[in-house]
């Protein structure tokens, strides 16, 4: 078993809590994990990416080789495209549709995604909206994780345990809201598949 994931977004959008949840899940299951992050200038609205690799056998490289990612999980639509060369042709791209527009030349992406969906499996989800509907606008990350979860080779229950682990310190209510968000995202994807 192995899942190689490219996590993409913009600095400050918090892709790290997605990574942390999966990390906790992997650790609980005694899986091997490597997760390479972008640090540095990330506070200031630049592109950020994390390579997350989970397997039931030792992992060598911290970086995913070109064309081998099983999944691009992006919390921002344009950012999901930046790392396409990493994606395996059999892989899936799961992206938020809510754009983070902090540049003047932000492109219209409709055609691009239409073209791309002829080649690869794409799930586009308005995670911000769904997060609002579940009553926790801040949990759009967990909606995204839920939407991507059918493509991750870790059982749903174990990912939920991972979410519980990382939000535990913030209280039961926060845990519950994040798990709800995760489930809503997952339901959305399963309906599409």
């Amino acid at each position: 078993m192995k899942t190689d994931i490219i996590l993409a977004g913009v600095g400050g959008q918090g892709i790290l809590s997605i990574a942390a949840s999966l990390g906790a899940a992997a650790l609980n299951e005694n899986y091997y994990l490597k997760q390479a992050e972008t640090h540095g200038m990330s506070q200031r609205g630049g592109a950020v990416v994390s390579h997350l690799r989970i397997a039931d056998h030792p992992i060598y490289s911290d970086l995913i080789p070109t064309g081998q990612a099983d999944l691009i999980l992006s919390v921002e639509p344009m950012e999901s495209l930046r790392y396409l060369p990493y994606l395996s042709p059999q892989g899936s791209l799961v992206t938020n549709t809510a754009g983070f527009v902090n540049i003047s030349n932000y492109p219209d992406l409709e055609n691009t995604f239409d073209e791309l969906s002829k080649k690869i499996n794409i799930i586009r989800i308005d995670a911000d909206q769904i997060a609002k509907e579940t009553g926790n606008p801040k949990a759009s990350n967990m909606v995204m994780l839920g939407a991507a979860s059918p493509f991750i080779a870790i059982h749903e229950e174990i990912i939920i345990k991972g979410i519980e682990t990382i939000f535990k310190a913030k209280g039961e209510k926060i845990v519950e809201m994040n798990v709800e968000a995760f489930k809503a995202g997952r339901a959305f994807s399963l309906n599409k598949c």
């Binding site: 913009v10 600095g11 990390g23 906790a24 650790l27 091997y32 994990l33 490597k34 997760q35 390479a36 992050e37 972008t38 640090h39 540095g40 200038m41 506070q43 200031r44 609205g45 630049g46 592109a47 390579h51 992992i59 060598y60 490289s61 911290d62 970086l63 080789p65 070109t66 064309g67 344009m78 950012e79 495209l81 930046r82 396409l84 060369p85 990493y86 994606l87 042709p89 902090n102 540049i103 030349n105 932000y106 492109p107 219209d108 992406l109 055609n111 691009t112 073209e115 791309l116 080649k119 690869i120 310190a169 913030k170």
Partner: protein, 539 residues
């Protein structure tokens, strides 16, 4: 066994604590910053009251670490690669004095310059100083080798360098920890002249260092971290340094690389292992992150011996971080055509945060520059360096920390007028004060803007040594008090800021103009911390 998910840098921090350090000394710098931050936030480190405050710069940090080692305690200094340039004086000389308590210098290199001015390779410094260098290939090794480095340092009587690249620094994996050791007792050096480098002593100690080299080479040979992996296919022997071993093995998912491989993680290089590889194989491929240090060593000057390939002959790229794809290509593997990035994609360069005071400073400065002509703003390193990019295009230089003031001085000496230096508060106390003194001594005609956001913002909002001290420092150095001006970088103050700058250009001498407003990210960070503290105390 319990595994913790740790970044490479965190593994180093944890290992140092577990090895019983009594102090960490550091100045922030990506990708090394989190080593110290990890120790600052660690419970045992707090309980033991391990020294963990930031130093003013890398030189002061390393010197303080040497002082702690003098007193018999274990200690670590951390910095980014260019930080070692600043600390190079003490670094080179402490190889000659040797150490008392175990001393580790953790240096994080930044191949591909993710957030640095260059991609210099710190292993050259290690070789230059003739001390052991450890270069772990993964997070567990980062932990284990750091843990062992302190005892090794004490055994060798020398400082040990831990060298890691960005990719290992900022990648997480499961790490198993070892037993926590007690701290060393206070213990003076046996020879009270050990740290006295008057030439009469220095010559002797340098000879001692030279005499140790063969022994250090033997220790490398025996090191469990330098390994020989047999392989049936002898047409090629591969030498992998540090993290590059993973990039090689990624191409052999079952671990069965057909070629013999020497993995190096402990320098000086293990000669016998390399000799064995050369004897067995027709050609060698050297794979290293950074400059071609080992490759140069093995490359045959007169071209009569074994062919060596790597970064120098173009088998691997000459510059930049390596990855598994580079190795695949070097080994002649065909890669499938990857998915293409659509043309619609545009860049998303970093920019100053909404509400950042640096913006207001640049708006005002630009108005004055429009009057006096551009090309005269010498600047420095920090968030404010983004003022080089649109929409501001204000600043013209960024070379090394502190160079804004001294370069402005040199240009003023040459006759350029007016000239500006734009420098951050932390950069000012890191390396700007001595340059300011030069200006004062010579009454140079410079206008120095200290953009004071009361933190080290660029590296994540650490405490700045400059906080609350800048005016006093400037006065103490000898700047005329009436030419130390203060403004608050806010839109509504635009006209006032422009006026102050104009007035100071009119003055033929040293002007220091301080724009002070706290970084908005730092404010948010402190709020988060307080909330966390409050939640903890509430429970």
């Amino acid at each position: 066994m319990q595994r913790n998910l740790l970044l490479g840098v965190e593994a180093i921090g944890q290992a140092a604590i577990d090895a019983g350090i009594s102090g960490v000394y550091a100045y922030p710098g990506t990708p090394s910053t989190e080593i110290t931050e990890y120790i600052q936030n660690n419970r045992l480190a707090r309980e033991r009251n391990i020294h963990r405050e930031w130093s003013a710069n890398e030189k002061t940090a390393l010197e303080a670490a040497l002082g702690m080692s003098y007193a018999g305690k274990r200690t670590m200094a951390c910095m980014k690669h260019v930080g070692l340039n600043v600390a190079a004086d003490v670094f080179m000389n402490m190889a000659i004095t040797g150490i008392n308590g175990g001393l580790v210098v953790a240096v994080a290199d930044d191949p591909s310059q993710h957030s640095s001015q260059n991609e210099q390779d710190s292993r050259f410094y290690g070789k230059f100083a003739m001390i052991p260098v450890f270069e772990p290939s993964n997070q567990q090794e980062a932990y284990d080798m750091t843990y062992e480095a302190f005892a090794f340092s004490e055994k060798a009587g020398l400082p040990v360098m831990m060298r890691i690249p960005t990719r290992l620094a900022h990648s997480r994996s499961g790490v198993v920890q070892k037993m926590v050791q007690t701290e060393n007792p206070l213990k003076m050096p046996e020879n009270l002249m050990q740290f006295m480098l008057l030439p009469v002593y220095g010559r002797k100690y340098y000879q001692n260092l030279l005499d140790k080299q063969d022994w250090l080479a033997e220790l490398s040979e025996e090191s469990a971290y330098n390994q020989y992996f047999e392989g049936k296919e002898k047409s090629l022997g591969i030498v992998c340094c540090g993290i590059t071993y993973n990039y090689l093995m990624e191409n052999y998912p079952n671990g069965n690389c057909p070629y013999p491989v020497v993995k190096i993680a402990h320098y000086p290089v293990p000669q016998k292992l390399l000799q064995k590889l050369e004897n067995e194989c027709d050609e060698l491929l050297v794979v290293e992150e950074g400059y071609p240090l080992v490759e140069e060593l093995l490359t045959d000057f007169f071209g009569k011996g074994t062919k060596v390939s790597g970064r120098l002959d173009g088998t691997l790229p000459r510059r930049g971080e390596l990855n598994p794809d580079h190795l695949a290509k070097a080994l002649g593997r065909e890669l499938e055509e990857p998915l293409q990035i659509p043309d619609t994609l545009v860049g998303r360069p970093p920019s100053l945060c909404a509400g950042c005071g640096h913006q207001d400073t640049y708006e005002a400065l630009n108005e004055v520059i429009a009057e006096v002509g551009n090309g005269r703003v010498f600047s420095d390193i920090g968030c404010y360096t983004l003022g080089a990019l649109p929409p501001y295009n204000t600043i013209n230089t960024c070379v090394d920390m502190g160079a804004s003031i001294t370069m402005a001085k040199g240009a003023a000496d040459a006759g350029l007028s007016p000239v500006f230096a734009v420098i951050g508060d932390s950069t000012f106390t890191h390396s700007g004060i001595t340059g300011l003194l030069d200006c004062v001594v010579e009454k140079s005609n410079v206008n120095i803007l200290i953009v004071d956001n009361e933190t080290v913002a660029m590296t994540g909002g650490q405490d700045s040594s400059a906080k609350g001290r800048i005016e006093k420092i400037c006065e103490g150095v000898g700047v005329a008090p009436e030419h130390i001006r203060l403004f608050v970088p806010l839109k509504k103050n635009h006209d006032e800021i422009v006026k102050i700058i104009r007035e100071e250009i009119a003055y033929n001498g040293v002007s220091v103009i301080i724009g002070r407003r706290e970084c908005v990210q730092r404010i948010a960070k402190m709020k988060r911390l307080h909330k966390k503290e409050a939640a903890k105390n509430g429970q």
